[in-house]
């Protein structure tokens, strides 16, 4: 559709949750857009229920062999190769395989530093925008991307301008068990808001409850991925080209410090420069900072847009722990999407408990059969033989999980950087993750785990156990690594998502977030993208890019 030498209005790097929304909005607003996506352009017909292809061969995600990641706990350690980061690597990005939990942030998430004050060891800050600024865009996500849920079912929900466009998905056994037990304890469980269609909508089918959801692409387009929802709308404008198998590895900048386009490898590893009047990075909270660091020049020796030194820093992957239980009768929770009920009673916990933060619990079952056999049984179950088989047979249909999600404090040393030694299959420096949870977050998770175990007691679970609460060495929520802020010394982008340093370079994805929220970031990432598209459109119309 476009040639790399055509100077389009915008080149967007990444076609996931935020890139897809930006592509749709900007092309609808009349701009010429090229989206460069590292991964392949797969479609519903390419999606499979083969767990080996999905989890073993990374059909939809970054491949640890071709794209090694290195991990170290502290800056004093030497990082070693480890699959420490997972993200979607196909058109639609991580929204193709995600669980599809769509929680809004609450008012507190934007202002909690002001309310709580400094916390030792944390680089805590408030957002330069508020919940009220984002509310119209949350609503837009719900109606345009497609979210099922029930407004006002949770007394802790922030204000909203419109109800959900669709009723919640049908309740699952885990949801009933959780709802009854949590109410017995005085809590307020509610139907999970999910980016999965409960009714046919916009030419897409409703969920048929196949049970291959988390990790898998939806073969009927009921999961509201960017691929199923906004990317077709972008393409329909006739002004947006999605170019797959295009691995961007440098943002080209001219002598005046303006971005001129994105340099990428095509599938044959030929190198091209896609020219554009402005560049938007929506490559996720790991690859966006990596790309800025890879784009260092004499003019920008520490990486592009990094005068603050904040590029890649303050990663907040959301603290989490899973608690499991087995019940007397079959739940058959392998049927359907993963999550059925959520509880936000612990969204803002009292600091008298000895830690800052909060979170949510959800009732779910996210195991597919192989994953269940490897990970779903009580830890003391024999690994093979008659007892192993009996446990599989009894528990596969009778198990459920309570997933505890919560805040992560931003810690400056928790960061993505370029590995000095390890290269990817294209010869580029590998992504290096340095990460160690703030002790506060582990304390909070231990507290949440205990509440989840109490709920299972109240529910009459026959067996219950918690996965260990351990320092995280594998992250999927890639948040905060190019944070938004008013002070150019303490943030990477301004409230228009424009980098403080390069006038025609914008960033919009999980990296933009200033705090972590309570565990489900994609809704916020997309609301930010809708808002960013409005801001960028206004700037372009005023010739201020």
């Amino acid at each position: 559709m476009y040639k790399p030498s055509d100077e389009v209005d915008f080149v967007i790097v990444g076609s996931g949750a935020s890139g897809g929304v930006l592509a749709k909005e900007l092309s609808t607003n009349g701009f010429r857009v090229v989206v460069l996506e590292q991964g392949p352009y797969l479609n519903e017909k390419d999606f499979t229920h083969d767990e080996i292809k999905i989890f073993g061969q990374n059909l939809l995600t970054n491949h640890p062999k071709e794209q090694p990641v290195t991990f170290r706990k502290t800056t004093a350690d030497t990082a070693k190769k480890q699959p420490a980061v997972m993200y979607g690597r196909c058109v639609g990005g991580s929204s193709v395989h995600f669980t599809a939990n769509y929680w809004r942030l609450h008012e507190i998430d934007f202002i909690e530093h002001g309310k709580t004050g400094d916390i030792p060891g944390a680089n805590f800050a408030d957002w330069p925008i508020t919940y009220a600024d984002l509310e119209p865009y949350y609503t837009k996500v719900e109606w345009e991307v497609g979210v099922s849920g029930l407004a006002e079912a949770s007394p802790f929900d922030p204000p909203r301008s419109k109800p959900y466009p669709m009723p919640p998905l049908p309740v699952k056994g885990c949801g009933v068990v959780f709802e009854r037990a949590a109410r017995k304890l005085g809590y307020h469980p509610f139907p999970a808001p999910m980016a999965i269609l409960s009714q046919p909508r916009a030419g897409r089918a409703a969920c048929m409850n196949c049970g291959f959801c988390l990790g898998f692409g939806c073969e009927i387009g009921a999961k509201s991925s960017a691929l199923a929802s906004v990317i077709p709308l972008a393409e329909k404008t006739g002004r947006c080209e999605i170019r797959p198998n295009s691995y961007v590895h440098r943002i080209e900048v001219d002598k005046n410090g303006r971005a001129v386009g994105a340099v990428y490898f095509d599938a044959q590893r030929n190198v091209h420069l896609q020219r554009a009047k402005a560049v938007i990075l929506a490559a996720n909270g790991a690859e966006t900072p990596r790309l800025l660091l890879l784009s260092a020049t004499n003019q920008f020796p520490d990486g592009l847009a990094n005068s603050s030194g904040y590029v890649g820093k303050n990663l907040m992957p959301n603290s989490n722990v899973v608690v499991n239980a087995v019940f007397e009768e079959p739940l058959n929770d392998y049927k359907g999407f993963a999550v059925s009920r959520v509880m936000h009673d612990f969204y803002e916990l009292d600091s008298k408990l000895g830690f800052y933060g909060g979170g949510g619990l959800d009732a779910r079952y996210d195991f597919t059969p192989i994953a269940f056999a490897l990970n779903g049984l009580p830890p003391d179950t024999p690994k093979w033989g008659k007892e192993f088989k009996n446990a599989l047979r009894h528990n596969f249909t009778r198990t459920m999980e309570i997933f505890c999600h919560g805040t992560s404090l931003p810690v400056e040393s928790n960061a993505f950087s370029l590995d000095p030694d390890v290269k990817d299959a294209w010869g580029l420096p590998a992504l290096r993750l340095t990460f160690c949870d703030h002790p506060n977050d582990l304390k909070m998770m231990a507290w949440m785990r205990d509440r989840a175990l109490e709920i299972f007691d109240a529910a009459g679970a026959k067996t219950k156990w918690s996965n260990p609460i351990a320092e995280q060495q594998f992250v999927v929520h890639l948040l905060g690594t190019c944070r938004m802020g008013k002070d150019p010394n303490k943030s990477v982008i301004d409230t228009d998502h424009r980098t403080h340093d390069v006038k025609n370079l914008f960033l919009c994805d999980g990296s933009s977030m200033v705090t972590s929220g309570r565990g489900q970031p994609t809704m916020t990432i997309q609301a930010l993208a809708y808002r960013a598209a409005d801001r960028i459109t206004a700037l372009a119309k005023r010739s201020e890019i």
Binding site: E51, G56, V176, N209, L331, G385, K389
Partner: protein, 207 residues
């Protein structure tokens, strides 16, 4: 900067293998006794005996009925070819242990059930079999035979049959997973008498 460039991209590198595996699976689905392509018939017989100890047959199908050995053969032919030496060495070690501890028993597959359990219990104590696996994603390739075998046996038993195992949904039957891919609620015991969402009542609030 491009010196690290070797061969084609990962998709190009992996897709032919995936397509090939799918085709093999398709062939295998057509025939209940597909030809072995990598394993010798002797190796296949020993693996059948071993995998049948890991997931035995009772009133429900086990690894044998699911065609796990044929799944492993195809895996070794396609995406898991680097595991072949692990299998070869592992089978030799099992044979050696059997011969040393049960003179007169020619091979593992000819041992009594009791002897088989003893052999596997002893060998698994020295293996990485008890080590955990990551919650997300499947574990990276191991060179430990029993860990590899357990992993491949579980995969061959429970993978969607389009992945080349779980013949006639044998594994799903054994764990109680309906073979369908679309379901209508109620799904199980606890949701069948659910009356629909009701806001919490003030009485309940007081408790």
């Amino acid at each position: 900067m491009l010196s690290g460039y070797v061969g084609a991209g990962w998709l190009a590198a992996n897709w032919p293998a995936m397509v090939s595996a799918a085709e093999h699976a398709h062939q295998a689905a057509k025939s209940s006794n597909p030809a072995l392509e990598v394993l010798t018939s002797e190796q296949a017989r020993e693996l059948d005996a071993l995998t049948s100890c890991l997931i035995p047959t009772d009133d429900m199908p086990g690894a044998h009925e699911a065609g796990v050995v044929y799944f492993i053969d195809r895996a070794l032919k396609t995406y898991s070819s680097e595991s072949l030496p692990t299998y070869q060495k592992g089978l030799e070690a099992v044979q050696k242990y059997t011969a040393e501890n049960f003179p007169g028993v020619a091979r593992f597959s000819e041992a009594s059930e009791e002897q088989k359990l003893k052999i596997l219990t002893d060998l698994s104590a020295e293996s990485d079999l008890q080590k955990g696996v990551p919650r997300r994603g499947l574990p990276a390739g191991s060179t430990d035979f029993l860990r590899t075998l357990r992993f491949d046996t579980i995969c061959g038993f429970l993978v969607d049959p389009e992945g080349g195992g779980n013949r006639n949904f044998a594994g799903w039957k054994a764990i109680g997973r309906d073979e369908a891919h679309n379901f209508v609620p109620p799904f199980g015991h606890y949701d069948k008498d659910y009356l629909g969402w009701q806001p919490a009542t003030p009485e309940a609030e007081k408790k």
